[in-house]
């Protein structure tokens, strides 16, 4: 009796797929902007880490250092109709939405001038004005909420797309798949961005995920996925272009798995014993997203002086934000009781 042939790869589904994205061909100006945006996030987060060490920032504080190319590449492709939502590692995404650094930093120090009047903290920041919808502390919640934002874009017919970020850890939450199902059923305009930084707190993807190729996680919902080099801002932007074209054409949701790496611990209180110093150093040396663009700018003829002036300009912005955040007053005690409800009953 003849054996049935073994299938190594599952058969290719006979439905439309997005094209393989190509690296974005950035102009010199765009490349400078990507560089500055990534540098702003890096310096902002380094400063936040310092302020945490000084006791000026409390609680949990999750830094985005190492992952800058993902948010910069993706969000540079958005229009002002689009909305952004993410989890608790949110500082970088906020800066890219145009929220002033001092508003974010003052929230981190718990001050009245913070974006949430000091009542949200690092994990809970929002700006409806900038179409940034949080800033959510419950792992995976932003996936359902983002799907709801996409629902509102479609309902209002405003042409907007929701960019919903979550991590490799959140990708194992049940509500993610409940959301995938509804998003595809209703063809909602949403890009699910899995920021795969390889570790859900201390648990590596391979230890937690039966299917560790996370871009495939939408297959059983017919949602196509693309795996992207999340350390390369041009690859990120290229993927965003492809994903936006797919979603804006009314083809429903799409998944982007961004392979990235966080240099720091999960939060400030994480000693990161689950990986070696060498591993982190190797990524920094070989794949740093900022160094990568810096090299490109140098090759394009930008002088060290010019690059240094960008750095100085950004350091100045960050220092001013930090000074402001340290000096501006804490919320008035009466604020304890405000904003619980909108209306009076």
């Amino acid at each position: 009796m003849a054996k049935a042939p073994r299938t190594v790869e599952p058969p290719k589904p006979n439905r439309e797929r997005p094209a393989e994205p190509s690296a974005y061909a950035a102009t010199q100006d765009e490349l400078v902007r990507f560089y500055k945006d990534m540098l702003l996030i890096r310096r902002f987060e380094e400063k936040a880490g310092q302020l945490y060490g000084l006791g000026l920032i409390g609680g949990f504080c999750h830094l985005y250092i190492g992952q800058e190319a993902v948010a910069v590449g993706l969000q540079s492709a958005l229009s002002d109709k689009d909305s952004v939502i993410t989890g608790y590692r949110d500082h970088g995404h906020m800066l890219l939405c145009g929220i002033p650094p001092q508003d974010v930093m003052a929230e981190l120090t718990g001050r009245q001038a913070g974006i949430s009047k000091g009542k949200g903290g690092s994990m809970h920041m929002f700006s409806v004005e900038h179409k940034f919808y949080g800033g959510h502390g419950i792992v995976g919640a932003q996936v359902s909420l983002g799907t709801g934002l996409a629902f509102s874009h479609k309902y209002a017919e405003d042409g907007g797309v929701c960019l919903a970020y979550f991590g490799d850890g959140a990708s194992n939450q049940g509500q993610v798949y409940e959301s995938f199902n509804m998003a595809e059923l209703w063809k909602l305009p949403i890009i699910y961005v899995i920021e795969n930084n390889q570790y859900a707190m201390g648990t590596s993807v391979n230890r937690s995920s039966a299917e560790d190729q996370l871009y495939r996680r939408g297959e059983s919902f017919r949602i196509p996925g693309i795996q992207v080099d999340g350390m390369d801002v041009l690859a990120c932007r290229g993927a965003a272009e492809e994903a936006l074209a797919w979603v804006r054409a009314g083809k429903g949701p799409i998944i982007l798995e961004m392979k990235t790496y966080r240099y720091r611990g999960h939060s400030m209180s994480d000693p990161a014993k689950y990986r070696s110093r060498d591993e982190v150093q190797a990524v920094r040396d070989k794949s740093d997203p900022i160094e990568h663009v810096k090299k490109m700018l140098q090759e394009a003829g930008m002088t060290d002086d010019e690059l240094k002036s960008f750095d100085q300009e950004i350091r100045k912005t960050v220092n001013e934000a930090a000074d402001f955040a340290e000096q501006t007053p804490e919320p008035d005690e009466t604020e304890l009781y405000t904003d619980v409800l909108v209306e009076s009953y």
Binding site: S83, I85, G114, I115, S116, K117, G118, K119, G120, H124, M125, F126, S127, V128, E129, Y133, G134, G135, H136, G137, I138, A141, V143, S144, L145, G146, T147, G148, L149, A150, F151, S152, H153, Y155, A156, G174, Q175, E178, S179, N181, M182, L185, T338, D339, V340, L341, V342, E343, Y345
Partner: protein, 470 residues
């Protein structure tokens, strides 16, 4: 002798229905599975199948008859070997007599007891109490119309959907099926599938989608088939919806209504019989409403949909089919956060909400016969709680019992007791007593369910205790 076929109960709470259509006639042969009749309730039209084989004897209730009580003999069926005609001849006897004697007509139509005494049926029956209740919110001279609680809720949603394009309904079976409990009946036809949306069975997911849509500027009404299933979604209700406004320093709102049946239904056991009012009422940032009658349900649901805050709106399945008077006004909206004195009294106050109010009114009627004058306060909104009305009533009667269809521990009743201790101590002539369900998961067995649930007799006993009459 043929088999008597009785008007079936098509749901645990159905009491009567319309015999819409006979699909058989006398003398027909039927086999098990044949559809014999169509029966209509306020919820749905159901087909009534034959269980036994036989020849149709006498049809005793004509098609088109309304209000046929469950258990009424509607036809006879001659079994194998029976003489169908003989059965027909024997059957008309009571009917013939009935023509002469009115009391016998009543008797013939009286349902044969077919159901066990369950606790849920008992609270359902008791809560039916047809007491004169005061309603200071209705302008004098307003015409009142009788509608069911289910219709009142539907009307509230439909009116608000007509008025505001941003309002939509989502949930399991809300659209094509017309609602698992028929609360959304007709909404799909009027508003279409853009605004009346069937979801997959995915509570956590669609509660999050609804919450996100509210953050994005829409006005979602999320229906849970029952609040028991909202346990899967409680994270979004509490963590996402309730806290957002505060965490954002007042700039990001979440105007959403989570609604559905709450509390004990009939014989559905522990996982489907729970009152979540105390859970949600403990969360700052939420509005929690649990109305008793249809007028309050309508007026408060409209207010809930208009509110800029997230609202948990707890309905009671046992009351859905109950008819109440609702004011005939173009825009009947009630204030959130205001209790209602359902009945004025001077000796003692019973504070309650939801189906407990019906029990309290029944207890008050029983106590009136014994000369105890009871005031009944319906909290209606559980968060924010109308402390002022509770304390005012306490100051008037100096004695209080709190009746709650739910567990006693950490309950709304516990909260009322605490309020009375902290702010009404000087007005108390006796300790405030909680009357609630037993502190156990809801049992299935009819007798145990009955034992577990609150009853008007238990309320009566508590009132006697605080008035030192026991």
């Amino acid at each position: 002798m043929g088999i008597e076929i009785k008007m079936p109960a098509l749901s645990p709470t159905m009491e009567e229905g319309t015999l819409a259509k006979w699909l058989i006639k006398e003398g027909d042969e039927v086999k098990s599975g044949d559809i014999m009749a169509e029966i209509e309730t306020d919820k749905a039209t159901m087909e009534f199948e034959a269980v036994d084989e036989g020849i149709v004897g006498k049809i005793l209730v004509a098609e088109g008859t309304d209000n046929v009580k469950v258990g009424t003999v509607i036809m006879t069926l001659a079994g194998e070997g029976d003489d169908a005609t003989a059965s027909i001849e024997r059957q008309p006897e009571p009917a013939a007599q009935a023509g002469k004697d009115d009391t016998l007509v009543e008797k013939a139509a009286e349902p044969v007891p077919h159901k066990v005494e369950t606790g849920a049926r008992q609270i359902f029956e008791a809560a039916k109490h047809d007491a004169e209740v005061t309603d200071p919110d209705v302008p004098a001279g307003t015409e009142m119309v009788k509608i069911t609680l289910r219709e009142a809720l539907r009307d509230a949603m439909a009116e608000e959907m007509r008025a505001d394009e941003r309002v939509f309904v989502m949930g399991e079976e809300v659209a094509q099926y017309q609602g698992a409990y028929k609360v959304t009946q007709g909404l799909l036809d009027e508003f279409g599938d853009k605004r009346v949306i069937d979801t997959p069975i995915t509570e956590y997911g669609f509660a999050g989608v609804g919450t996100g849509a509210a953050m994005g500027g829409l006005r979602p009404i999320v229906e849970f088939m029952t609040f028991n299933f909202a346990m899967q979604a409680i994270d979004h209700i509490v963590n996402s919806a309730a806290k957002t406004n505060y965490m954002s320093g007042g700039q990001m709102r979440c105007p959403i209504v989570f609604r559905g049946p709450n509390g004990a239904a009939s014989r559905v056991g522990a996982q489907h019989s729970q009152n979540y009012a105390p859970w949600y009422a403990s969360v700052p940032g939420l509005i929690v409403i649990a109305p008793y009658d249809a007028a309050d349900a309508k007026g408060l649901l409209k207010a809930a949909i208009r509110s800029q805050d997230p609202v948990v709106f707890l309905e009671n399945e046992l009351l859905y089919g109950r008819t109440f008077e609702v004011p005939k006004l173009d825009d009947w909206v009630l204030p959130i956060g205001k209790a209602r004195v359902m009945r004025e009294g001077s000796d003692v106050t019973i504070v309650s909400y939801s189906i407990g109010v019906g029990l309290a009114l029944e207890a008050a009627a029983k106590l009136a016969e014994e000369g105890i004058d009871v005031e009944v306060v319906d909290l209606r909104t559980l968060r924010p709680l109308d402390k002022a009305t509770v304390l005012k009533s306490l100051a008037k009667t100096n004695r209080m019992v709190v009746a709650e269809e739910g567990w006693p521990t950490c309950s709304i009743a516990s909260e009322i007791v605490a309020i009375c201790m902290e702010e009404g101590f000087d007005d108390l002539d006796a300790p405030v007593i909680r009357v609630a369900n037993e502190d156990v998961p809801m049992p299935y067995a009819a007798n145990l369910e009955k034992q577990a649930l609150i009853s008007s007799d238990k309320i009566v006993a508590a009132v006697k205790k605080v008035t030192y009459r026991s």
